[in-house]
């Protein structure tokens, strides 16, 4: 366990010391400033938009981190890891921690501001709003980190192709509903793409989260993310270096 924690700290330190987090941090600050410049806001819309931003940020961060990885160091980390099987989960833990950091910013900021300003939202913010909003934001985040990391340079060696694939999946994920509406035969996209816009469909014109639907979206996100992680780890172990 100590071995894994040491690797986690080293990888985390490498990310923090690099410039990877500059653009996402600036994006979050600008987003929060711009988004809440017009008040009052709809509660559901603000959380769902934050989820969408977190998805994009997580795709970017996890993609940057995996592209910055140097095979020679990864080979050594793999050899030093005890147990060896702990190496791959550590990579996920690092991007998950970064995702959580941005998720906390996106959740806590409106909660604090609304407690200071009654007109922050169109209606009073309840604890269930925060709970379900958090679930949707985290669901988007885990989909983002797994998607960005899935097109790893050891799986798709050409960086250009990996970027094209990630952007394609991300764009399709955002606009899958209109596509399925026009072409019902494309319903399988629900399973191929992360459920990042399902929250918008669920809420519709109302400003309330449906608990059952929210939990289903979270379940979908978790299953989707786990599937991507397992397939990726299987491919990386198989393809080696």
């Amino acid at each position: 366990m100590k071995s894994i924690f040491s690797l986690y700290k080293l990888k985390m330190m490498t990310v923090i010391r690099s410039a990877v987090l500059v653009i996402p941090t600036v994006s979050v600050v600008v987003f929060l400033g711009v988004m809440y410049s017009i008040l009052p806001q709809q509660i559901s819309a603000s959380f769902l938009s934050s989820g969408l931003l977190l998805f994009v940020i997580c795709v970017y961060v996890s993609m940057c981190i995996q592209m910055k990885e140097q095979d020679v160091h990864e080979e050594l980390f793999l050899m030093h890891s005890r147990p060896e099987a702990g190496y791959y989960p550590v990579r996920e833990m690092v991007v998950c921690s970064i995702m959580l950091f941005y998720a906390v910013l996106l959740i806590v900021y409106p909660v604090i501001r609304s407690s200071l300003n009654e007109n922050w939202f169109t209606r009073p913010l309840t604890s269930s709003d925060v709970f379900y909003g958090t679930i949707l934001i985290l669901g988007s985040g885990i989909c983002g980190i797994t998607l960005g990391d899935f097109f790893h340079h050891r799986i798709i060696p050409r960086r250009r192709n990996a970027i094209i694939f990630v952007v394609l999946v991300a764009v399709l994920a955002v606009c899958k509903e209109p596509i399925i509406e026009k072409l019902p035969g494309m319903k399988f996209l629900h399973f191929l793409l992360p459920p990042i816009t399902d929250g918008f469909i669920m809420v519709g014109n109302e400003d309330f989260f449906d608990p059952k639907e929210t939990m289903l979206i979270l379940l979908h996100s978790v299953i989707y993310a786990l599937a991507l992680v397992f397939i990726k780890i299987w491919l990386l172990r198989r393809r080696k270096f």
Binding site: K2, F5, H73
Partner: protein, 263 residues
């Protein structure tokens, strides 16, 4: 064979249609020290990676005698966005090694002043030493050395050779890819080259010979064929010369430490 540590069975590996290893079959003994020589791109580094199981082979099989762990000095040890101290501290944490042991290694390799220097700002030779330290701080069953001395100063090279020979005495198996004849002479029992994807012995030593370990008593002059191994010396002796050699060593006053047959 019970003392075999790794066996390659018809191993083939190619990169971009260029065959680097072509149906290589060979068994390597536990505790041996094997060097792979040859021109650039002949497959030395690939051979080390195949032995470590970190590259995927196209066909064949690599078999280990039980659960084997590797230590590895890569050919190109690149910099990271952390300081050398932070990096080594983390590796020591991963291996459960006492930090004081790591500090001693850092001192031995003359890197004490660079603890707080970012690895990405270090010179090639210094970085290579960090690569050596991370492997030597906790040596496992097999030590893989991929051109370990590239860019290192002569003093550090001597330290490296002495440390590796200490590990050999502990029974650690060593595989090395290198160009320096001096290094091969001082560290390796056997030297192979890879030609057109095939493994070839450079010494024709497929026949058996004996490894005789001796310790020097005062005022004795070393024989030219003696290879230093820490405080000991190694002699390679053909079977038919064994009796005569041992007698000569005894008469001169050498302390005989051990004899092992090498096939």
């Amino acid at each position: 064979m019970s003392d075999t540590i790794v066996t390659l069975e018809s191993v083939s590996k190619s990169y971009n249609r260029k065959t680097v290893l072509d149906g290589v079959s060979h068994s390597f003994r536990k505790g041996g020290s094997i060097a792979f020589a040859g021109h650039n791109g002949c497959g030395k580094s690939t051979m080390l990676k195949v032995l470590a199981g970190i590259v995927r082979i196209d066909s064949g099989r690599v078999q280990y005698s039980g659960k084997i762990r590797f230590s590895y000095v890569p050919e190109k040890f690149s910099g990271m966005d952390v300081t050398m101290g932070r990096y080594l501290y983390s590796i020591a944490g991963m291996e459960g090694v006492e930090w004081s042991n790591v500090r001693k290694l850092v001192k031995d390799f003359f890197l004490e002043d660079m603890f707080h220097l970012k690895m990405s700002q270090m010179s090639k030779g210094s970085l290579q030493k960090v690569g050596v330290i991370q492997a030597l701080m906790s040596p496992h069953d097999i030590l893989l050395l991929d051109e370990p001395l590239s860019g290192q100063d002569p003093e550090s090279q001597e330290v490296f050779i002495s440390k590796v020979n200490e590990l050999r005495e502990q029974g650690i198996t060593i595989f090395m890819s290198c160009h320096e004849k001096k290094l091969m002479d001082e560290i390796s029992d056997q030297v192979y080259t890879i030609e057109k994807g095939k493994l070839k012995s450079l010494e024709g030593q497929e026949e058996s010979y004996f490894r005789v370990y001796v310790r020097r008593n005062d005022n004795l002059t070393c024989w030219p064929e003696m290879i230093p191994r820490g405080e000991k010396y190694l002699l390679r002796v053909a079977e038919e010369q064994m009796k005569e050699t041992v007698m000569k060593l005894y008469c001169e006053g050498w302390e005989l430490i051990g004899i092992e047959e090498y096939i």
